[in-house]
Symmetry: C2
Amino acid sequence: MSARPQSRRIRQADIARLAGVSQTTVSLVLAGKADAAALAQETRSAVLKAARQLGYVADPAARRLAAGRNNLLGLHTFMPAFPVDQRNPYYPFLVGVEEEAAAQGYDLLLFTSAPATGTGHREDPLHRLRLADGCVLIGRHAPVAEVSALLDSEFPLVYIGRREEFGDRLPYVGADYVTATAELVRHLHMLGHRQIVYVRETDDAVASLDRERGFREAIRELDAAPAGGSVVRTNGSDLTADLLRGWLDGGVTAVIAESTDTLAAERAVQSVAATLGARYPTDFSFALAGSQVAREVGEPIITGYRSLKREMGHEAVRVLADLLSGEHVSQTRRQQLLACTFIEGETTGPPP
Amino acid sequence: MSARPQSRRIRQADIARLAGVSQTTVSLVLAGKADAAALAQETRSAVLKAARQLGYVADPAARRLAAGRNNLLGLHTFMPAFPVDQRNPYYPFLVGVEEEAAAQGYDLLLFTSAPATGTGHREDPLHRLRLADGCVLIGRHAPVAEVSALLDSEFPLVYIGRREEFGDRLPYVGADYVTATAELVRHLHMLGHRQIVYVRETDDAVASLDRERGFREAIRELDAAPAGGSVVRTNGSDLTADLLRGWLDGGVTAVIAESTDTLAAERAVQSVAATLGARYPTDFSFALAGSQVAREVGEPIITGYRSLKREMGHEAVRVLADLLSGEHVSQTRRQQLLACTFIEGETTGPPP
DNA sequence: CTGAAAGCGCTTACAG
DNA sequence: CTGAAAGCGCTTACAG
């Protein structure tokens, strides 16, 4: 027994029969193309009336197959769960993408299910993105082979977050972490800090590389009053209280923790600081290369920066829509970085 | 110029040619169905090898067209903007629907764009829901004609929220507002209140009718120590401080405000109470038939009840998925009400 | 001005 | 054990 809905869908052929015209004519009228202008007004109204009467809606798969598009924009995140929970750091992207998709007149297809289809051969889960006209992608890591395959077939894709694995083939809307992180360092330097430790994730996502680069560049440029800066990688559990103690004893007065979706680095620093009973900025200044996800009542505002996630979602959809409509999209817009907003919090101040 | 990829995709026919078999055989092998077991082992390996060699990927649109289903679940709210904003009272439904859709292996189609088609004819906006295999509906009011049309064509639909406009034709997952509101009244009665005013919306959504019914029934049942209960309708602006003053002077010691997505009743009461400088529960007890949307810091917790929105989203998708898979769904599950959770807040206490 | 026909890339009875 | 054929519901040349 097939699992398809028992109600036979209304097809163009049904409309054609009711209106007394050919199925081709129905297609022409409903497509609203230039060709339709050539059709007699009464033929058109007959078709439209019949279509309305029957509650016709085109089958997206058929349309996609025959014409190559269906007015659907896809959204996929490389995560086990879709970021529909508001505390998910990716949630604001979803809001932005949804808003702009609606504004552009596209419906949004959320590729939520992880395992793809149930049928036999293990195929690339990304293939089903092709059901939509184009797709917005989000995620700290992008599977290179799968995304490349999609790009090879010229499937329209826009990534939220800078990517460099695909050269100029993959359009993206990213955040300028390099500049924002450098700004953070200059802020600390201005406050008087001369020994800063940067704690980061162990994995080399592009976003992590960018933040670290901003840190290193800023340290290097501060030649007027040279600052020491060291970069430490942590998996979250290998950062001990003794280690932090050692840094502070050795003259370190400020710590920057990279803020990613795993929260590994920031949690690690916060946890050992708590063990030490250290207080910000009395004992040392603490800042995030990124922003606080959710501040509990009573907790201090942590210095850092915020990327304009919602706006990134908007712009990603705008670029995708332009790509789909065949408009020329300049290279500067195809791969752009949006500035972050500096957050001056309560955890940074003059060195002790 | 068509927007489709110029690079011709690899099709099953290409594999068939390379492997020296028919396209049907390729389909059989790649589908991995039971039929494939019957195929000679060498035929299968030849096909698989060729497929791998050519980098074959099935076209999802074609597959879905041929198989007759989309694997798409729709979600539509009868609102101008989609409740993707976390402060929207419908947001938790979205989360629940998304989670369960993912769990059931369906992708989620958000019908976000208001105006439907881009092409000519002005059609019923609901028609495009048919794009999915089935659809979850949310909203205080349901457009009867449009939803009926969908039901007539046996399009699988599940409503979140009780509906009575469609008899037993429309499956739903609602909240038991009758019981919850009655419980609220009994709570106030137990505290000693004998004169209670119930302030509600002016429009007769099903949810509003249910809450009022719970109020009336509870008042009627409290015959051991009879309580007075009156129902007042407000559009939000016609409730004056003098009116409230009059109630209190007349012996009313508790006010229940209906909490809907418009917030009309609860805001009206809160606002005139503020004008009067009244304090809860010192001057009178205040409760919501529903729950506080967002509590500001310093504000009291308001007594009321919470519907299990996320769970309602889950169950709605489960019912829809069962409907789609052709499983029998019992009538008690087709139209069910989930119990609400009582919230004992800080705004109710003994009468002054 | 309108229709017959081919074709998009698959699945699925049905033959043999 | 395998293939020819019909068909899913559209779009799009191409005829007339």
